[in-house]
Structures are given as C-alpha cells and as structure tokens.
C-alpha cells in the first residue's frame, strides 16, 4: 500500500511545528497587554494612565509575585518592570519569566533608576529586551513601548503563520480531514498513551470499493465529492472528542478509536459501513452509490502491547483485515489480530 511506502520516511520528518502550543487556537487580532510592575503605587498609576492613553491594555502589579500571578491568569505581551523591589526584584522576575514556557513571548522592558553601564548589562543578561532609566522623557518611554508592541505583534504573526503552516502540513486539502503525516505523528502518541495506562486502542482501515471505476464513470470531480462525503459520513459515526480519521491514500482512510476494544471497534465499523450504503452521494454528475470495506484491529491486553512495538504492526493488522474484506467481495468488516513478531 501507499501507506506502507511512506511510513518510514514520514516517521523521521516529525516537525516541532506540531507542538501542542501551536495547536492552540490563535486569535487573529491580538491586543497589546502591558503589565506594569513597580512597588510604588503612584508610579504605577502614572505609568498606567500614560499607557492607557496610548491604547495599551494595562495591568498593574506591586510586586514580582503579583506580576507572576497576573501573567499566570492571563497572558501579557509586555512586562514593564522596576528593578529594585522588596522580596522579588525585577531581575529575579525577569529570569522567572524567561525560564517559564510561556505560550507566547513576553517582551520585558526594565525601567529603573539604576543608570550605570553595569546595571544595563546585568538587566539585559537577566532577560530584559530593553532597558530604560527612570527620568527618561515620557515620549521615550512610550516610543520604547511602541517598539515592544511592534515586536510582539510580529511574534504573534509568526506564531500564527507557524500554526497555519503546521495545520496545512497535517491536513488533507481535498477533504479537510487529517492526512498521513498527522497519522504518523499522532498514532504513536495514542499508542504510547494506551500502553502507559493499559487502555485499549483500535484502528480501522477503510477503502472505498471500486473507487477507480467510480472515477472513470462519473469523473474525478464526482470522485472528489464522494471522498468529501465519505469523510462527512464517517465523522457522524465517531466520537468527536476522541476518535479521529486520516486520509492516507487516494481512497484509503485510517480511523483511530482510543479507549476502544475490538468488539466496540467492530460495532463502529458496521455503523460506518451502513452509513455509506444508506443513500447515494449527490454529486454534480448525479447520485453515486458506494460501499466501503473495513479492516479492524485493536490492542487490549498487556501481551498485545508487547507485540506492537511499532505502529506498523497495528496498521498492518488493520490492512490485513481490509484485504480480507476486499477478497470476500467488499462492503464488509473483517477483524484481524496483531501478529506476534517473529
């Protein structure tokens, strides 16, 4: 199968772009939220008023600990912090912010009375992006914060772009469902999780019967409509919060069912098969009836997990079931156990 030929190659091309951070939904319009941290409440009030007048969203903290609490509850793009404060000073705050795995970058501007070259270097070494001595004109403070706003917007755009690139790289453009790359990235994670907790995991291999003939008879556009309809019907039979499918070839799909034993997987497979035959797909070339063959496999017991050292073992078992269904005339479901490696 095409799936198998790509398997080894794709296992080595997993990208950092797939990190869960990038999977989080990114807002298109990002406000610039500035957190002012200074132990003097009047200084905070003055800065807050200036910044609000310049269209920044402003939060105020009177200590380093309070600043961390605020950033923990809602992300801030810019941290404008004093250096000398009781308990946790600006340097310590800066180091903690840098050490933490924030969802997005926090731009730190240190604003302090300490005006020596050594102080500046120490502040930057602690992780500050910019350093300003108190007494600088208001215009300069605001200008530096505009730089911060610009940089955080660029960072946000890059992050959104990275996310979009990642999304495109794991999405099948024709059907909008996941693609082979997604399967090869996330099925090992599903398997690892199932193995760790001793929970079952099922995989279905699906293939539309006679898809080539459908393409030849009705045209490729109708074939594409059929594929989209196949995905839509499949999704109605799956638990949207846990099950997922991926298009792994022309008319080949893999469906992953976490927390599902082989009996449950068989039920889902029959439900899927029935949903395909229930009514023809309305295409621009007219109604097109279709059926699909399904192979089912699952790992349940500990010894089965020992047999599945690689996801190939799981996928091959599902494909064996699919092959058996095809050999028996299609439009049927066949279960196949994972074989013990020899």
């Amino acid at each position: 199968m095409q799936l198998e030929s790509h398997m080894e190659e794709l296992e080595h091309t997993s990208s950092d772009l797939c990190d869960t951070i990038l999977m989080r939904r990114l807002d298109t319009a990002q406000p610039c939220r500035v957190l002012i941290c200074d132990d003097d409440n009047l200084a905070c009030a003055r800065l807050a008023a200036l910044l609000r007048a310049s269209n920044f969203d402003v939060e105020v903290a009177c200590s380093g600990e309070e600043a961390l609490t605020i950033m923990n509850s809602e992300p801030c793009q810019v941290l404008l912090t004093d250096w000398q404060m009781p308990d946790m000073d600006g340097l310590a705050l800066c180091r903690i912010v840098r050490a933490d795995q924030n969802e997005s970058y926090v731009y730190v501007l240190m604003l302090t009375v300490r005006n020596s070259k050594e102080d500046l270097l120490t502040g930057l070494a602690a992780g500050a992006d910019d350093y300003l001595v108190k007494g600088a004109p208001v215009e300069e403070i605001l200008a530096r914060l505009e730089v911060a706003r610009r940089i955080t917007h660029v960072e946000h755009s890059l992050r959104a772009s990275n996310y979009e690139n990642w999304r495109l790289s794991v999405t099948d453009p024709l059907t909008g469902t996941n693609n082979l790359r997604y399967l090869m990235k996330y099925l090992p994670r599903e398997l690892a999780r199932s193995r760790r907790y001793g929970h079952p995991l099922a995989v279905l291999s699906c293939d539309i019967d006679g898809f080539k003939q459908i393409n030849d008879r009705y045209g490729h556009e109708a074939g594409n409509e059929l594929l989209r309809s196949f995905v839509a019907r499949s999704e109605t039979c799956l638990r949207m919060d846990s099950d997922w499918l991926a298009r792994v070839g022309g008319d080949e799909f893999m469906i992953v069912l976490p927390e599902t034993k082989v009996t449950g997987a068989n039920r889902v497979a029959h439900k899927l098969r029935q949903s395909y035959v229930r009514s023809p797909v309305e295409t621009h070339a007219g109604p097109v009836s279709f059926t699909a063959s399904v192979g089912v496999t699952a790992v349940e017991a500990a010894h089965e997990f020992e047999n599945v050292s690689k996801i190939e073992h799981l996928l091959r078992a599902a494909d064996r079931g699919l092959y058996a269904s095809k050999c028996l005339g299609g439009n049927r479901v066949t279960a196949a156990a994972v074989r013990t490696p020899t």
Partner: protein
Amino acid sequence: MRATRYQTRTASPLPSEDSFEAIREAFCVRMQSERLHFAALNAALELADEIPTPILHDLRNRAHRLSGTAAIFEFTGIAAAARALELSVTSAESSDAGDSEPAVCTALAALVRLIGGLKKNAQPA
C-alpha cells in the same frame, strides 16, 4: 507560569485610574509628607555624631523610591537629588569610617530644600 505557586490575585490599589490630575496631586501630597519626614531626619542627623544603620537603611529605601517616582512624574531635579542621596547613603553604608556621613547630610539637606520649594500644584520641570 507557576500555576501552583501563584494561585490568587490581589487587586492593586490605584489612586485614581486614568486621571492624570488626580495622580499628580496625590504625588504632590506624598511629596509634602516625604518632606516632613526627610526634614525631621535632617534635624536629627545634624545633632547626631553617627547615623544609626537602621536609619541609613530607611533613608536609602525612601530616597530610592522617591527618586524613581519623581522621575516618572518628570520632577527631574527632585529625582536627581533623591538619587544623589541614595548613592551617598549606599556609600556611607559600605564605609567603615564615618567620613561619608557629611555627604549624606548634605544630600539630605539639598533634597529637603528642593521638596520644600515645591508648590501643591507644581508642574514638572
């Protein structure tokens, strides 16, 4: 972030948000309060042979805070005088001989004079 360490959030009191005038007035009121405190210290130090360490410590902290706040409010003269006082106290704290203390008294007197000249509705320099 450290979700487990920092669970609660306390609101920071702001004198009067977004009101430049009210904030500036609050600053001027505090300056008068600071002036009284610094003047009392100045008078006490003129009579003392040696400045006790806790007083130096308190003086340094007050001078530091005033320096920063005055700078934010663009009272650059007061900010510079407070910074000079802070540095002179730092120097006195690190010096075993008492020869830095006159500098502290001089810087303190200068700061008291500057704040004393500040009117209630003073504008930044």
